[in-house]
Amino acid sequence: MARTKESLVLLLDISPSMHNHLQDVARTVSILVKRKIFFNKSDELGLVLFGSEEANNDLQKEVGGYESVAVKRPIRVVEEDLLEYLSELPRGRAQGDFLDALVVGMDLLIKKHGAGMKGNKVNKRLYLITGARSLIKDPDEGTKEDQVDVIANQMKEHGMKLDVVVLQQRISGLASSNIFHENVSLLKRFSKRAQAEVLIVESPVSLLSAVKARNISPVTLFRGDLELTPMIRVKVWVYKKTIQERVPTLKKYSEKAPPNDSFASREVKMDFEYKSREDPDKTIPPEQRIKGFRYGPQVVPISTMEEDTLRFKPEKGLKLLCFTDTSNVPRHYYLKDTNIIVPEPGNTMAILAVSAVARAMEDTKKVAIVRCIWRQGQKQAVLGLLTPNLSSSENVADSFYLNVIPFAEDIREFPFASFNDFPPSQQPNDSQQEAADNFVRMFDLAPPGREEILQPELTLNPVLERFYSSLDAKLRNPDADVPPVDDLLMRIVEPDPEIVSENEFALNRFCSQFQLKVNPKKDKMSKRFWRDKAPLSEEVGKDDSVDLQSDISFESLAARKVEEVGGLTPVQDFEAMLARRDSDEWVPKAIREMKKLISDLLDNSYNGNTYSKALDCLLALRSGCVQQEEPMGFNNFMRELAIKCRSKRLNDFWELIVSKNLTLINKGEAADSDVTEEEAKAILAEGNAGRAPDQPPEVDEMELLLGEVV
């Protein structure tokens, strides 16, 4: 079903107190714009700046006042042009009166979509980003609070939602702080009287993450009774609370259609056929197929009908099994993303019942175990853990979080040696422990009185952001490289330099207390991840051409500071580069250069005179990629090579590859590989294809909701 489109007015504070942060604000808004263009491209967006010295708005012209509010972009469909505009936000010199701005924003929405709830075919939303440092003018009559109430009522009446992000800056000064507190309490007043959400952020990272860019219409996973006992059933609805958002699944690109054909869909369709193993030409039609399940060495066929009649068929429902101590279900048992159980909206008794039980659970430190069958026909039962979620806002009802917990079959226990039983040499001594204590205490991400850093709610996914930025960059320039991770978002990936420098002493002391030494013998095996079984030694031994590696000690490799893979001794250069540890760059570089060298060798080949060298290089590349856990680097190259060998009539070289049994790197050799052993070999046979199963097919919202249903 089509989502109702959203009409959003952005209200940005550009008054002097915001000047230092305008860039961050612009970045935040551009994230919002990019995601909107991607997900909800029919949404509309208007832009209003306040605290600006130029006034430009209808109200000012019509009724006067509203001097520092400028409508920069009337409400219309989101477009790229906004991004350019955002990069040069002006610096205003006037006071940023957010109440004025709100009124102007509401006026825009009403003029665009009509008054009252009639304009309900769109979701009307106001998005206010402010420093809340400017003094709000006293209204002509009544108090500021009264004015807030009037505005809030209007919002409610016209069905508008409000999101406020307050950027809190650590500025001293009593006057300024008084204004700030007054403003914040004014803003919070909105959330009691209208559908408003106020978020106070401190760091730019949080600001960046505060924006809920993507609008998802929530779907209930379940509506029905929470059956405490057969005697008492509380009406509840169940929603998702967390659900992992992934990089969108991209379509496969076909290059077959002529490049200038603008109507070409460029899509690649996949066709699946089940064939008999004995007779590869025989295709088995779907109705002749039957599911088989492994049972020990046997494969037991079960027809769909048998399966349907015999299988576990639970009745839809949400039933309480028992209450128990919180400690009986430890935190690490939580299996999946979290749901939330809310009382049926508007049902006072359900709200009270949930509230009473939740509060009693909180008081007595109990949790509840429930059996969840979300819908009729569900094939699995789900074991859920209810924990109370007492609402902090008086407008929001109490609810329960529901986490999926494991069944007996899902748990495996291993014994681990007690730390107390380690020999004294592996136990920290007093000064080491003290250093660790200090370190843990000082390196605090949630110090009292300050914003909690890296709060999941305020931590944007850097990968997603990078994907959308990259998409945008490629729109402008199809050959654009993948942009680096946003420097602000690197604070999610790496420690905040500010905290590090604040606590340098504790950190250094901790580090200096422990002698951590990399075991060089193992280290040779792999640079970043170590495995207990490295197949390398046997792999290498198999082929003479790469044997020279074993003669070179780690030290001698590392000693040679090779910086490129040359044509003279490519294998040695390559290996020496892999062994360099002074930077992370060497491994990708070595692989890249090796690939290029191989391609060059083949391109310049005359009667196959370079084949043997190219083959040696390829072998070295393979073992290097296995060793460095970069199977995809090799596998993708092999696939390209397979195509190249066919098209460029290099098939004699491919025959060499086949004769050396040079397959793709399979999962057994490097876990990150995308192919199984069998699939890895397939490349030889076909010279093409042989790819592993694709990314999981796109899952729609409902399926995600019913994630438990198999």
Binding site: L321, N328, V440, V463, V482, V493, W530
Partner: protein, 677 residues
């Protein structure tokens, strides 16, 4: 008393799974439930269930993209296990259990226990091979023709083979005819030079000869309650027997076979490991004191014990935790909890029951040409087709090259209940690659416990880089062993993109929403107290769908006309007990204060389901009626199907019970396909 302590060298056995293992497993584990087992007012009790379905495959999670990393050594490694069971007379003594009056000989407990473990193995580790070998038997059955050793097997299959449904079935009846067919014998017969323990080790070693130790873990699991196997031997040969048996065990271990002892209780005395087994398994004196074995009294003990031991502990991955530039701590990761699924489906030809091969081809949608797997992907954005190479896509996900980077610490209360997206991973220090890791890890771990904090780190794996919480797990031991191991649980945290404000969807805008009064909360507390299960543990509840699935498989695999055994759905509440007066009263009181005493709950009917099916039926009726108004084959021939509306097309599909999904072209194609036949 101290229990389960690995010898100091023991920790390295985790790191070198293929290394020789000398371990003894006193029956020292109990579940949370047992730990808290009390006899006081529990409103209703769940029976502790047997672990039918301990899983292995599920811990490899190949479906989960991120977790495919976790599968590293699964393919390469399998286990060959010989269950070596003492069938001496003592094993058949009736042991009276404390809490119930039932008597069950040890032998029976062991058989039942192994049965459970076999079932688990059959389901989860396709490639594991097992053999069952009794010693101290009257009859003999083994390749070496040794006296007193009986290798149990079924007609088909080798002695050491993958477990089959048949083996399980036959083994479950082994007790019925044991005395007749195999026979028990009391250890060494005075005057005889036969040494069944020695022979059994020799036979087991023979069974384990196949396969290389490089990719197979070979284990002997030894079940006995006789701590003095040579007690009855003649003094003249006793020392010799002892020496040769120890030598035999040593030889086996030198061949990479690990021997694990499961001591069972003696009648009226402790199993004294120092009499013989400590020497056989080469324990030093000081280690011995740490290894005071508890004896298995009950079936549960042994099951729990075996459950922990059924698989070799496997490191999923080795990673380093980077604390600061130049300081990294080596870690091993373990997957302790992963949802179990019904196994992978193999498609078969229903005529021959032979497995089918899936062939995939790529077709260019524009030209219809067969293409090779494309290396480029695209995304439509702003009406442009934006192309990405596979390398670029993986580059996007590669935001860091550091596997695990510590970012700081937070107090425990910052970790909310909804900060979860997938099963946690367990971290334990390892000195293998970076010496000194264990020491630094322990220091951090203890500091975190002391200050009630958890670590926040960035997990930079290339599939799904994520923020994680490193939650310290305090070691919990009970009088019977370790319950929770010490280490860190790595909990995957959501990003802001992943969290929804669902509770605020139904925000009240007309003033505050009602909150429960003190009285209501008090009544709720009273009700909770009545409905409380103090000893709850997730071990009590097995997955009903899985149980059912494997019960079906087992019956079908045996291919006998047997009735499907009942599988109990342990997820169902004990509604009967819930109606008991004491509980009912508390529930009623709660109901009265919240809903009022006159409130009647609607009778639950599946009205919705009924309505839906009625509606569906009505639609079908309409479709059947309407479908007659069109000449479908003619429409198809003249290619006029295109002119019909989707609604009209669906008449046909509904009337013929075909799927209704897809776009118009798909529907038309479906109709055409259907018409052709």
């Amino acid at each position: 008393m101290k229990f389960f302590r690995l010898p100091s060298t023991g920790i390295f056995t985790f790191l070198f799974p293929a290394a020789i293992l000398l371990k003894i497993f006193p029956l020292s584990f109990c579940t949370r439930a047992e730990r808290r087992r009390t006899n006081d007012s529990i409103p209703f009790a769940y029976k502790l269930q047997l672990m039918d379905l301990e899983s292995d495959d599920l811990f490899r999670d190949e479906d989960d993209e991120e977790n495919s990393n976790f599968s590293q050594d699964k393919e390469a490694t399998k286990e060959f296990v010989v269950y070596m069971i003492d069938a001496g007379r003592d094993m058949f003594l009736q042991i009276k259990e404390e809490d119930d009056e039932k008597k069950r000989p040890h032998f029976s407990t062991v058989v039942k226990c192994i049965l459970e473990s076999l079932k688990t193995r059959i389901i989860n580790s396709d490639n594991d091979e097992v053999a069952i070998c009794f010693f101290n038997t009257r009859e003999k059955r083994n390749l070496q023709e040794s006296e007193g050793v009986y290798v149990f097997n079924v007609r088909e299959g080798e002695d050491l083979d993958r477990p089959t449904a048949r083996l399980i079935k036959d083994f479950s009846h082994v007790e019925d005819n044991f005395e007749n067919e195999i026979g028990s014998q009391s250890g060494i017969i005075p005057g005889s030079r036969e040494n069944p323990l020695y022979s059994a080790l020799w036979v087991a070693q023979g069974l384990l000869r196949k396969g290389s130790t490089r990719n197979v873990d070979k284990r002997i699991l030894l079940f006995t309650n006789n701590d003095d196997p040579f007690g009855s031997a003649d003094p003249g040969v006793k020392a010799d027997m002892r020496r040769t048996t120890i030598q035999r065990a040593k030889d086996a271990q030198d061949l990479g076979i690990s021997i694990e002892l499961f001591p069972l209780s003696r009648l009226g005395e402790e199993f004294n490991i120092s009499i013989f087994y400590a020497d056989m398994l080469e324990f030093e004196n000081e280690e011995l004191t740490q290894f005071m074995p508890t004896v298995a009294e009950k079936f549960e003990d042994l099951t729990n014990q075996l459950r922990k031991k059924i698989y070799k502990k496997r490191v999923v991955r080795k990673i380093t935790l980077m604390v600061a530039d130049g300081m990294s701590i080596g870690l091993s990761t373990y997957a302790l909890i992963r949802p179990a699924l019904t196994g992978k489906i193999t498609w078969l030809d229903s005529v021959t029951n032979k497995p089918l091969k899936l062939e995939r081809s790529y077709i260019c949608a524009d030209t219809g040409a067969l293409v090779t797997e494309p290396l480029k992907r695209f995304q439509t954005y702003q009406n442009e087709k934006i192309k990405f190479s596979l390398d670029e896509l993986s580059e996007i996900k590669k935001v860091t090259s550091v596997p695990l980077r510590l970012l700081g610490f937070k107090p425990l209360h910052c970790l909310k209940d909804y900060h979860n997206i997938r099963p946690a991973t367990f971290l334990y220090p390892s000195d293998e690659e970076i010496s000194g890791s264990t020491c630094a890890f322990i220091a951090l771990y203890r500091a975190m416990l002391r200050f009630q904090k958890y670590g926040v780190a960035f997990y930079g794996n290339t599939r799904s880089p994520q923020l994680v919480a490193l939650l310290p797990q305090e070691e919990v031991t009970s009088s019977s062993g370790q319950i929770d191991p010490p280490g860190l649980h790595m909990i995957y945290l959501p990003y802001s993109d992943d969290i929804r404000r669902s509770e605020k969807l139904h925000m009240s805008m007309d003033g505050p929403v009602p909150r429960a009064s003190k009285e209501q909360i008090d009544k709720a507390t009273a009700m909770i107290k009545k409905l409380e299960l103090r000893e709850f543990s997730v071990y009590q509840i097995s997955n009903p769908a899985l149980q059912r699935h494997y019960a079906i498989l087992q019956v079908l695999a045996l291919d006998e006309n047997e009735d499907l055994p009942e599988t109990k759905d342990e997820t169902m509440p004990d509604e009967e007990s819930m109606q008991r007066p004491g509980i009912a009263k508390a529930v009623q009181e709660f109901k009265d204060v919240v809903y009022g005493s006159n409130y009647e709950f609607e009778v639950i009917t599946n009205t919705k389901g009924d309505e839906a099916s009625k509606k569906r039926k009505a639609l079908t009726d309409v479709a059947v009626k309407e479908v007659g108004n069109y000449n479908w084959s003619k429409l198809a021939e003249t290619q006029k199907l295109q002119n019909l509306t989707v609604v009209e097309l669906k008449y046909y599909l509904t009337a013929h019970n075909l799927p209704l999904t897809g776009k118009k072209e798909v529907l038309i194609n479906r109709i055409l396909t259907h018409l052709e036949r």
